[in-house]
């Protein structure tokens, strides 16, 4: 039987059979790739432990949704859709690519089962996908190289632009698609010329277009093109494989693992060291992350997996406010450091001892700038985490005594007095003793021996801040109106320690936790309610062995649904409300709907949504100790947020967190919107509208 063209498995190059090249290229490629992967695994083996081999069904679900389903990609529609096509192309073309490699050694090789209709269907699919990938590569290259979306820019302090690497890789992918299509189309064109059976080419596919272009090309040239395109494809394929572990395209390999091992819970904080119980922490030599090898292996895998897409930083409020923090570069700088400490032989000395991170690749201000709002983690399509890393770095700084003076005072006050202002413990319940308030609302005090089913955990800011005490009073009145029997701990309550822990002072947090836990248990309460999302998150995620905790918005909604709380129609004309999601209520605890439902039960209330709402809510500036930190910034996050509310057409910002209220009320003044914009806490609004 006459062959159409000689295949790479049977051809000769001078006196050498080309199958030798077809054999040597993969062997060399796989050998180099294996070496690189071993090199990349080395730091992971030496890293801190992490507990990620648990909850396998949940992890598999994440892989299906976030990796295979590319769930987070369409949050950026154009880039997301382009990526989904590329990703689908990579997955579907992996079979063809493997077949191509073997075709160079075994003429006419097909995978078992592919000699049936499955193979025929696959051939159509792969041609469509290859064409789609090629189109995406062109669009992506134009986008990256000419339009240059802002989020890919590299600010001067973070090094050189990354466009060249991005476009180079797009060129590699394009080359793979083109050479594979040429391999097919040269064969098809030759078959056509000889009137022999040719493979079906999908109209308008790359191979179909090339075959038409090659219709009149002489057979000898087609033969050369057939072989050259094969080996170009082979070389590009293995070059690309070995190029992956050297930069941001490592995610092609690591993403499935990174998503499998990604964090499953929100709002929690990793233990200081996995496998070390709280009561054994004193025995640890060092706390937190001080140099690159102190990170856990999963955190290092995160560094490898970053695709440099910039979505984290695009959503980071600290970055938006001009603070010296860009989560994207937290990752990229760490990856560069690992690559430097574990260099590809023979460049550099292998396994050098890594320098300290603070003062090295990270600055102190960078690490203190984070409000732990979680916007970056919510967005990352690869499941890279940041909060635990920031906290681990802070733990390292606290351990070295490296804490800004502005934070030392409140920390020491919390240690001595249980609140960051250093106010007297005995005044913690003063808001409840205020004569005017106490005249029509009596608050039970655990410190005075009272007991109740429900414990209202007030926390520091709501207990002591003049303005926020109004939230405490409103909460007490609403609870009373709803017929809920409640008490407060009074001077027995200390700061929940939510930010103490997130600012890296773990041992102080544990002292606060054990004190509060004991007090809560002794109070005999069956449930806890709080109006402070930070306390809410601490009690839910950081505390153990205490009654279930709910946020006041949940209590209010249930009371309304059960008919124990009725609301009057809205009493203010011309007001347009918008709800600002507090980070620790929304993103970290998933309470997006409850506060909105509560607002919507007030008849006549006009409510609009800001563009950034729910899981894309924009942090107001941070709570707890963040109020004391003096950041380097161009503008306040709160001001940006208030302008977003104004853009949405609102003139009342409703929030459900005392820290949001502080920041937003300040920001309204700073933005010069006093009189045009106001802020109110949800529970205050409900208090005003409760029928009594």
């Amino acid at each position: 039987m006459e062959t159409v063209l000689i295949s790479p498995a049977k051809a000769w190059f001078f006196f050498i059979p080309t199958w030798i090249f077809s054999f040597l290229i993969p062997v060399a490629g796989v050998a180099v790739f294996t070496y690189l992967i071993a090199l990349r695994l080395a730091p992971l083996v030496r890293a801190a432990p992490d507990r990620r081999f648990n909850r396998i069904p949940e992890r598999l679900r994440q892989v299906l949704k976030i990796w295979l389903g590319q769930w987070r990609h369409p949050r950026y529609m154009l880039a997301g859709v382009l990526h989904i096509i590329l990703f689908a192309g990579f997955l579907s073309l992996s079979i063809r690519s493997s077949q191509m490699v073997i075709l160079g050694m075994v003429d006419g090789f097909v995978f078992p089962g592919f000699d049936s209709f499955i193979g025929a269907a696959y051939d159509i699919l792969r041609q469509i996908m290859a064409t789609a990938v090629f189109v995406v590569v062109v669009v992506a290259a134009i986008r990256r190289g000419i339009f240059k979306p802002a989020r890919y820019a590299v600010p001067a302090q973070y090094g050189k632009d990354h466009t060249v690497e991005a476009v180079f890789v797009l060129a590699l992918i394009g080359t793979l698609m083109v050479t594979e299509a040429l391999f097919d189309s040269s064969l098809a064109a030759a078959a056509h010329q000889k009137g022999m059976h040719a493979e079906i080419l999908v109209p308008m596919s790359l191979a179909w277009i090339f075959a038409r272009m090659l219709a009149a090309t002489p057979a000898e040239s087609l033969q050369t093109l057939h072989l050259v395109s094969y080996y170009l494809h082979d070389l590009t394929f293995f070059f690309f494989l070995c190029f992956l572990p050297l930069g941001k395209h490592f995610h092609v390999i690591t993403s499935i693992f990174n998503v499998f091992f990604m964090r499953l819970d929100k709002g929690n904080v990793k233990p200081v060291r996995h496998g070390v119980a709280d009561d054994k922490l004193d025995d640890l030599e060092s706390f937190g992350v001080k140099q690159i090898d102190d990170f856990t292996w999963k955190h290092m895998l995160d560094f490898y997996s970053c695709a440099d897409c910039g979505r984290c930083s695009d959503n980071c409020p600290a970055n938006a406010a001009g603070r010296p923090l860009s989560p994207r570069f937290i990752t990229i700088k760490a990856r560069d450091q690992i690559f430097k400490s574990y260099p590809v032989y023979p460049i550099g000395a292998p396994f050098t001892k890594s320098p300290p991170l603070i003062g090295g690749i990270y600055s102190e201000a960078e690490i203190w700038s984070c409000t732990t709002c979680g916007a970056c983690e919510e967005e990352c399509p690869l499941g890279i985490e940041y909060i635990d890393k920031i906290i681990d770095l802070r733990r390292g700084m606290v351990d070295d005594g490296n804490v800004p003076q502005s934070l030392q005072k409140p920390l020491s006050a919390i240690e001595k007095r249980g609140n960051p202002w250093g106010k007297m413990e005995k005044k913690r319940a003063d808001w409840a003793k205020n004569k005017e308030f106490a005249a029509d609302c009596e608050v039970k005090l655990v410190e005075a021996g009272d007991t109740a089913e429900t414990l209202y955990f007030v926390d520091s800011i709501t207990s002591y801040d003049d303005r926020m005490q109004k939230i405490a009073q409103a909460t007490a009145r609403v609870l009373t109106t709803a017929g809920i029997d409640f008490a407060i701990l009074g001077k027995e309550e200390k700061d929940s320690g939510h930010e103490v822990r997130r600012f890296g002072e773990e041992m102080l947090f544990q002292d606060l936790r054990s004190h509060n836990t004991e007090m809560i248990q002794e109070s005999g309460a069956k449930r806890i309610v709080t109006a402070d999302p930070h306390a809410f998150n601490a009690l839910r995620k950081d505390y153990k062995d205490i009654p279930p905790t709910e946020h006041i918005s949940q209590t209010i909604l249930r009371s309304i649904q059960e008919g124990r709380l009725r609301l009057k129609p809205v009493d203010s004309e011309g007001k347009i409300y918008t709800y600002h999601d507090p980070c620790y209520l929304g993103r970290h605890n998933g309470l997006y709907e409850e506060p909105r439902q509560v607002l919507d039960t007030i008849s006549g209330l006009r409510r609009v949504e800001m563009t950034r709402s729910r899981d894309r809510s924009f942090c107001c500036g941070g709570g707890g100790l963040m109020l004391f930190y003096e950041p380097e910034e161009e503008q306040r996050m709160g001001v940006i947020r208030v302008k977003m509310a104004a853009d949405a057409g609102a003139n009342v910002i409703v929030t459900a967190c005392p820290f949001c209220l502080v920041n937003i009320e300040d920001a309204i003044k700073v933005a010069g919107l006093e009189g045009k914009m106001e802020a109110i806490d949800l529970v205050e609004l409900i208090d005003q509208h409760a029928e009594r």
Binding site: D282, D399, G401, S412, R417, G422, K426, D466, E505, L508
Partner: protein
């Protein structure tokens, strides 16, 4: 360099509401929280930084009672190598000169190249450093805000003088320096640091160990009275909520031309 830093446990002014007791001879001490005197904290940080640069060790010493051990431990958690507690019932009623006498006796028990004190204490009179130097017959410089080690015999020290000018002097060792706040940024002492030194033995010396008798410590300055001064002319206490106070203050500042 062997450095001795004299520290004092004081009621923390930022975390207490200071009120007179009913007898009117002292402040109400029931609900107070204490900490190391702020100036002393800067002195300890400076001593640690000097030792980090040139070697040696830092000893912190305080005159007090058992409760004073807490501030010694805090400064040891910060990085001081040794603690020394000088405690005796005979020390309780003494005055500034008496404290200097006790410290002088403690200095004689060791060999120190440099002795640091805070420039003053929240509840003090800023007198101990100078008196201690005089009793030891050591050179003394006060309100020091910069220390440079020239060699093991000499230091270069700075002082801020009126108008924000800086004065640099040379002083020979051994000497006594009283340290001004702002000389450095004291490091944070976490709960973990304090726990690490919780079981370190701190030697205690009583009057007998120091060769002191009660007569030498008898106060020559005695407190007669303690009171909140009556409002004088031109002084006014603003009352009301924080916002009302701020509004009034702004109004007054504008009226007096302080704000435009």
């Amino acid at each position: 360099m062997e450095i001795l830093v004299c520290i004092k446990r004081v009621p923390d002014t930022s975390e207490n509401e200071i009120a007179l007791n009913s007898a009117g001879n002292d402040i109400e001490r029931d609900d107070l929280v204490y900490s190391v005197n702020e100036w002393d904290n800067y002195a300890v940080e400076e001593a640690i930084q000097i030792v980090d640069r040139v070697g040696g060790s830092v000893t912190v010493v305080t005159v007090g009672d058992d409760e004073s051990e807490e501030v010694l431990r805090r400064e040891m958690a910060m990085g001081a190598n040794k603690g020394l507690l000088l405690a005796d019932d005979a020390f309780a009623e003494t005055d500034g000169r008496g404290i200097a006498t006790i410290l002088k006796a403690a200095v004689a028990k060791g060999t120190y190249d440099l002795i640091l004190t805070g420039a003053l204490a929240d509840d003090g009179a800023g007198q101990v450093g100078g008196m201690l130097a005089a009793m030891l017959d050591y050179p003394f410089a006060s309100v020091v805000n910069k220390i440079e080690t020239v060699n093991d015999k000499t230091l270069k020290i700075g002082r801020e003088i009126e108008g924000g000018n800086q004065e640099i002097s040379e002083i020979s060792l051994p000497c006594v320096l009283s340290i001004q706040t702002g000389i450095n940024e004291p490091r944070y002492v976490g709960i973990r640091g304090i726990r690490k030194v919780a079981s370190v033995e701190i030697p205690t010396l009583a009057a007998g160990d120091l060769g002191l008798d009660a007569a030498a410590l008898a106060p020559k300055v005695k407190r007669l009275d303690y009171f909140v001064p009556a409002l004088g002319k031109g002084a006014e206490m603003l009352e009301g909520s924080t916002e009302e106070i701020i509004a009034k203050l702004l109004e007054m500042l504008k009226a007096k031309g302080g704000l435009k």
